[in-house]
Each structure stands twice: as structure tokens, then as C-alpha cells.
Amino acid sequence: MQRIGVFVCHCGSNIAATVDVKKVAEMALLEPGVVHAEDYQYMCSEAGQAKIQAAIKEKNLTGIVVCSCSPRMHENTFRSAAEKAGLNPYMVEIANIREHCSWIHKNVEEATEKAVILARAAIAKVNLNAPLKPGESLVTKRALVIGGGIAGIQTALDIADAGYEVDIVEKTPSIGGRMSQLDKTFPTLDCSACILTPKMVEAAAHEKITIYTYSEVEKVSGFVGDFTVDIRKKARFVDAGKCTGCGVCQEKCPSKKSLSEFNRGLNTRSAIYTPFAQAIPNVPVIDTEACIKMKTGKCGICSKVCQAGAIDYEQKDEILTQKYGAIVVATGFDTIKLDNYDEYAYNQSKDVITSLELERVMNAAGPTKGHLERLSDGKHPKEMVFIQCVGSRCSDGRGKSYCSKICCMYTAKHAMLIRDKYPDVNVTVFYIDVRTPGKNFDEFYRRAVEDYGVNYIKGQVGKVIPQPDGKLLVQGVDLLDNKQILKEADMVVLATAIEPNPDVRKIATMLTASIDTNNFLTESHAKLRPVESPTAGVFLSGVCQGPKDIPETVAQAGAAAVKAIGLLAKDKLMTNPCTAKADELMCNGCSTCANVCPYGAITYEEKEVNDHGIRETRRIAVVNSALCQGCGACTVTCPSGAMDLQGFSNRQIIAEVDAICR
């Protein structure tokens, strides 16, 4: 028989205002096994923990129930408090009477009744708890960073500087990411490439960093401290060891009609290409879709002109298997497709462009060599209209419900740069709100308005109508003046919403990291654990977690690195002891459980058993507790109940059910 103590937390007034905590303690004392019950202002405080520890010692408690906030909040706090008082930490159960009770109910009587029942269920469970001991697993001292943009580069550099090996896996032929496509950065207006390129070079040169570009993560198995990852190195058809990066192949390549991904499709590239001049590695890849040799077997010019003999049409994809202790996701973002926004005529007019396309237009290495010109006829524009929140803050389901966060600032930047370089161009910005929280952000925006004369109109654009003369008629409203506005523009720039890179879904599934409805990776706690995924050992860096600008991304990248370093610095990890276990006298050895185990943690052994005097050799399931993550899929598939989950056993859950339905 257990000796159980019940501790009811007031959580200030968070619980006590709606739940009669004294009554909960009083009722708990009537439950089987309960020998002690008390309530206190803040159980999680030092004083509260001390009360628990004192009761454990004085009353010889064998188990405790804390009626408090969610176990996701303080289960660990109370477990370690109990452990310090000599109680096995797994003899602690939490009744969640805050998030699941006091915060959602108003009627004190009702909330108290429910709190009593929740406490009762936790008591019923702890009556059946058994002390558990975590196992240990070794930590592989190597990190994987998925994504080679500024977030990934920064995270990798920070981890590598701490002395750990890091691999960066980048899908495209070069690291650099979105930032490499930007022209200038707000609010300082320094050149994006000028600050990014040194980081790229540093990463490439770092002895602890290995970069796999044109590569993708194919499979992830294992768990925190011991992930095994298959990386697919896609065939470049160019031997990186031999290539000198001279660029002759690209010059001579006769197939030059492929749209440049780097330049957002605004111009073309050759079939063998590096995405941009500063690409790292500076080794081209062959686009098999465009390559004449690949399609017809004829051509082979690149091979002929390559003095290094680096072209290898026979190259195959390679699968590299590597072990990691920590994984950082830095998969970044893309702009949304504008198919739902016909009213802006994006697909009808070349002169309606996205802001990211404008970055390329403004860039000296871009399709227009940095000259601001209309993409339809190359003419210099006189009137430019910027439309904000295209697909952001959307409530009609066509776009995204969230604010993309960066658009207000980059639009101010674009407006300012254009007005600075081409004072003859009038710039009008249609906005819903201008949001400029951030150091020097509002000052920056005000300079655009006050010093550069950018015309900001609060209101939305209903329609952009291409005119026969090539102009664009913009129909909008001015909410402040409460009037319709018709404006002829030469170019329209859409501040298109950003969304997580579509590949992140696949990666999240492989990592078993959770994802929200917008495909942003979920953090472990919105406030307190913002760079950790709920999946242990997986960390989040950059926009994959939520919209961010560059400084925020870099800051988060550093934070993710620190978390990963903290993990890699440990030699061993305690493993979750709530793992499955087969009762060898009941097991049929039928293999059904192994079929549903996602971790391959179940194997079978021919084992000699003594079943109440009958000695025989039986095929019996054996769970590798280092691999088992405790999902419980096996327990339900086992008809006899031979397979059970420690910490969430059949009897424990049934006891909770009974206590609730009583």
C-alpha cells in the first residue's frame, strides 16, 4: 500500500480564485492510500517544494500528487524536488487543475468538483506507480544543421566555434539562402552580400564545418544524442575535387534558356550553372532537365572545354549515413504563390513584381544590372506603387492569417533606396498598418516619409488593371481621407507574405517535430523554450519557426547553437524510463508489436522461461529501452496485454478512467 501525499497549489489566485483548494485537499485525504494533504500559495516556490520534501520525510511518503498547473510546466520541478527528498521522481503525478480547470471554469462549485475528480484520478494512478530508473545513452558529439541560409550558417559557426563538428545540409547548389538574394538590408542599408559572403567563406573554411550542398536529408532515425541521418548528395555531374570554378563551362554551355532560380525567374541561366557568382562551393551543377547531353546524348561541350576534366555525366546520387547528437532545423522561407490574388495582376503584367523580385532588380548582379526598369519594356518607371500585406494578415482564407513581420521595413527600405537613387520616381505605399517595432526601425520608416517624401496611404488596393498603354491602373482607398483612389503606376511591387519552406513538412515528419497549421515548426514553449522543438535534441533556427528579420534570425541561430552545444557538451543523457516492457510469461512472440514499433526497438529472443513450474523455451519480445520512446503503439496491438508501458501502464490508465467515471 502506498503512502501518498497530496499537495494543492493555489498558484496565487490563478487556481485558488476558482477552485476551493482547501476542499480539494480535504477530499483527497479520503482517498485510498492518502496519508497527507495540504495546500499552499505556490507549490513550485522554494518554500512550496520544501513543504513537499518535509512531508515526504516526515510521513514516509511513497508517492505524491501535486494539484497544480500543467505537468508540461512543472512536472520536472516537482520530480526533482521529490528526488532530493529521497523519493523516486516517477512516484510523482500531477493533477492539472489550472489549465484544465481553474482557468476555463468560472463556477467555483463546478471547478472544485472537477479539481477533486482530477486529483482523485492522479491519486488512483500514483497508487499503481512503481519507481523507475532512467537509463543512460551516449551523446554523439556532432551536430547537423538543415539549411544553409544565414540562420544555418550562423548556428553552424557558433557550434563549430565551441569545438564541435557540424554538418550543414543545403538543398540548393550553394549556401547563402534568401539573404544572398537581397540587395541591401534594413535599417542600416548595408549591402547584404557584403556582410553575408564573409560568413559563408568562414563557414566553408572552418575546420569543424562540413558543408553538403545540393543535398537533402532523406531519413532520420534514433533519438536525442544519437540520431542517425541519411543524407542524399544529389549528383552534380561535376567533380567538386577537380573543378577549379573557372566558369568556362557555363559560358560555353549552349543551353541557356533555363530560368534563373536565384534571380527569381527574371532572367535565364545555362544548363550547367552556379546560382550566383559568390556561390559556395564555387562548383557548378548540371540541370538534367535542361542539359542537351543528358536529354539527347549529344553535345558534351562542357566536358570538352573543362580543362580540369571535372565533368562527369555518369555521376550518381550518393547516400551518406552520419550520426549526430543534435539537429538544428534552419529551413527558412519562401514567398507565397500569388495564384489566389488575381486582382493584383501579377500573372498578367511583368511590371507587377514581388518585393523579393525587386531585390534582384535593384541588385547590381541582377537581371537589370541594378538599374530600376520595367521588366516589360525596360523603361525607367516614374510612378511606383507598393502594396502591403499581400497574403499576410488575411482573414478570408486566401492567404496567411499571420503578419509576415518584415514587409513594412523592407518596403520602407525599397522606397527610400529608390527615392535616393532616382529622385524622379514617385513612390506610393498602400498599407493597413505600418509596424516598426525594433531598434532604429521607426526612425528608419519616418526618414522614408519625412526625408525621402514617400507617399504612405492607409488603405488597401482593390485592383490593379493593366492598361493598353502598358501603364497599371491602381484602384485603392484612402481610409484616412475616406476616398477612392485611382492611380496610374509604371510598376507595382507586392509585399508578398512569407511562408515556411514547403519542404519543412517532410523534414518535420522525419524528425517527428511538430508543426503548426501554417507549417511553422512548433517551439517547445512559446515563451520559455522558443528555440527548442518539443522533440528532444531538435532545435529551431530562423524563419522555420516564425517570421523574423535578419538580426532576429541571427540571434535565434545563436540561441539554437547554444542549446545544441549544451547538449553536445554532455557525455551521457538520461533516457526516458517510461518505456515499453513485455511480460515474458504472457508474451506470445507473435511479432505484431514489432510491426507497429516506429523505432525498431522490439526484437525477439528464444528464451528459457519458468511459467509456474513449466520450463520451456519461448519466443519472447524484448524491448531495447534505449531505442523505445514510449509511444505505446505496441501495447494496444498486443491482445494479451503482455506488452505494457511503464509510467502509463494499462492498470494505471484504467485506474484513472475508473476514478473519473466513478
Binding site: 479520503l30 509456474h612 513450474g613 513449466i614 475508473d658 467515471c661 466513478r662
Partner: protein
């Protein structure tokens, strides 16, 4: 001796049920079992054997013994009330009545089972002679006369009329209570029916079954016989034989948590089950052979040894009909017969 026309039986049942509970064979979805009579019940007196024996009129499959409730930390125990109302079991066959006699040997000796005793005290048995015995019957082997059941009232169904004869005080009382529906009858037809039944019984395939060699003295010989090792093999370890048997009396006592308290109940158990007589250390019979042997040793050796030679089998043949593996007590008896009995 009285009689009542078959078409008046429902009036008879109604009259009995007006005063007390009445259990009788009812056909439910093609299966005949003893059940409480209700208006419109599909009473079936033609089917020779109910699936389950009617023993649960006196020894129900599950019955509550007492209820424990908790008020704060105090525990209150409330015993289940004993049967205090009279009831009638109508249509039991001679073998089933004999089965009750076997149960009496278990439950009415010291210490008396009060639940059983109360039911026996309040129950009146109206037995029905077996009009057409079947090939699975072997009651004669155990001294049962299918033609003349020994009960509170004995009845015979002859040519659409039920002949009625009270044999005990309880039987007389019931007869008086329903006298208005009965008419006087002479015994000649009944005697003829008895002869006919006995004639058929002689012709039944099991009529020559011999129990020679089954008595207390042979205990160890029988127990140690290698025959069991062969015999038990088809046994599936289900409880069908025990649950249809009119004499099996083993039960288990278990607790049921109702959420408001605990009901301690007893329910039939089967010595064929692997957890039968499970104890803290485990089980005293670990193999199915041992469990199988136990059942028949008990019926044919241990029970008679303790009860003046009364076997704990009445030859109803239900196990013969219902065993999924076509095993039964007859095969067991015959297997030893073939062994010459000196094993």
C-alpha cells in the same frame, strides 16, 4: 393424480406466477434455457434438454454476496438478502432433479451455504418425465429413472395432457394452489408412459455403460493412469462442460468495483480453466491434463468417496452434446473400461 390439458398450461403458469416466481424452459432464439416466466414467453416443454441445466435456479451463475461501501474512511458491509420468496421450477427432468440432490450434498452440509439453503427452502420443483429420451442420455447408469422423476411434483406429458402427481408437502401445497385448473386422472396412462420410456432407455446406445471399477479404492490407480495423457488432448480448456453440467458446483469469489463501493460476488468457475484455484504462489494444477483429470476424478472418484458412493454425474448428457471437441464423461468412462479397470 391429476391432469391438465396442454392448452390450459398457460393459464396454469399464469396462476403460479401470480403467487410466486416461476422458472421454466423458454425458447429464446432457438435455444431452450430455464428462465423466469413472463406473459408471452415462448415456453418449450418439448425440447428434451435445456442448454444449461436448471441448477442456477438454486445456484445462480453469478450472485452478489455482499456490498462494501465507504463513507469517508469508514467501511460499511451490507450482506445480500437471502431468498425469502417462494418460487417454482417447472419442467426439470429426472436427471436435473438428481443434480440438485448432488448439490445438496455440497451446499447443505456443514458449513451450510445460506444462499443455497434459502433457495432450496423456498423452491418447489415440478419435474417432467422424459417423453422421448435421446442417444446422449445415460441417466440410468447413475440410478436415475427418466420415467419417474423424484421431486415435489412429478408430471408426464401424454397425448396433449399433462399428468400431475404431488410427492411432497411442498408439492401438495402447490397442487392445492392450482387445484382449480386440475382435473382428476387415473394412473393407467401414466404407467403405460413410464413403461414406454423405460423401454426406450434400454435401447439407448449408452445404456450398457458400466461404472465397474469406479470407486474410492481405485483412486491412485486411476490418478496415475497413463490414459489421461491421451484422453485430454483434444480438450480446449473451455468451461462448456462445467457450465452446462447440473452437478458442477465450483465457484470463484471476486470483487467488482462499482465506483461507489465494492460488490463481492461469486460466480461459477470451471476446473478446466487455467486460473482455477489460482493462489498467490501460482496454480496447483499446471497442465491441462491435470485439470482434465481433476474434473473426472472428482465426479467419479473423489465425490463418491466422500458421499456414500453417490457419483457427481447424473447422466444428463449435456457435455456429450456440447463439448466443442466431442469429449465427454462417457468417453472417459469407456476409456478406462477398455483398460480393463485394473490400471
Amino acid at each position: 393424480m391429476y391432469k391438465i390439458a396442454k392448452e390450459n398450461l398457460s393459464a396454469l403458469f399464469q396462476m403460479i406466477a401470480g403467487e410466486q416466481e416461476l422458472y421454466l424452459p423458454v425458447n429464446n432464439n432457438g435455444q431452450v434455457n430455464f428462465a423466469a416466466w413472463t406473459e408471452g414467453a415462448n415456453v418449450d416443454l418439448d425440447t428434451l434438454k435445456s442448454v444449461k441445466s436448471p441448477k442456477d435456479a438454486f445456484f445462480p451463475q453469478s450472485e452478489n454476496l455482499y456490498t462494501v461501501t465507504k463513507e469517508n474512511k469508514k467501511i460499511k458491509i451490507e450482506p445480500e438478502a437471502l431468498k425469502d420468496q417462494n418460487f417454482v421450477v417447472f419442467g426439470m427432468k429426472a436427471c436435473d432433479v438428481k443434480g440438485v440432490e448432488v448439490l445438496d450434498k455440497v451446499f447443505l452440509v456443514d458449513p451450510v451455504d445460506t444462499f443455497y439453503a434459502a433457495r432450496r427452502a423456498h423452491g418447489t420443483i415440478v419435474a417432467l418425465a422424459c417423453h422421448e429420451p435421446e442417444e446422449t442420455c445415460f441417466c440410468k447408469v447413475f440410478g436415475v429413472d427418466a420415467a419417474e422423476p423424484v421431486a415435489d411434483v412429478a408430471t408426464w406429458m401424454i397425448d396433449g395432457e399433462l399428468y400431475w402427481k404431488a410427492l411432497t408437502e411442498k408439492g401438495e401445497a402447490l397442487t392445492n394452489a392450482v387445484a382449480s385448473l386440475l382435473v382428476d386422472a387415473d394412473e393407467a396412462k401414466v404407467e403405460a408412459e413410464k413403461e414406454a420410456i423405460r423401454g426406450i432407455v434400454e435401447k439407448l446406445p449408452y445404456s450398457d455403460l458400466s461404472l465397474d471399477g469406479w470407486n474410492g479404492d481405485v483412486l491412485l490407480d486411476k490418478f496415475n493412469s497413463p490414459v489421461w495423457e491421451e484422453l485430454y488432448k483434444p480438450c480446449l480448456a473451455c468451461g462448456t462442460c462445467t457450465f452446462v453440467c447440473p452437478t458442477c458446483q465450483c465457484y470463484d469469489i471476486k470483487d467488482y468495483d462499482t465506483g461507489h463501493g465494492v460488490k463481492r460476488y461469486r460466480c461459477w468457475d470451471s476446473c478446466m480453466y487455467s486460473d482455477f484455484t489460482m493462489m498467490a504462489h501460482g496454480n496447483n494444477r499446471t497442465s491441462q491434463m491435470q485439470r482434465f483429470r481433476q474434473r473426472f476424478m472428482h465426479k467419479l472418484v473423489y465425490f463418491p468417496a466422500n458421499n456414500d458412493g453417490m457419483y457427481s454425474c447424473v447422466g444428463c448428457g449435456r457435455c456429450v452434446e456440447k463439448c466443442p471437441s466431442a469429449l465427454n464423461i462417457v468417453k472417459v468412462i469407456k476409456a478406462f473400461e477398455n483398460q480393463g479397470g485394473e490400471m
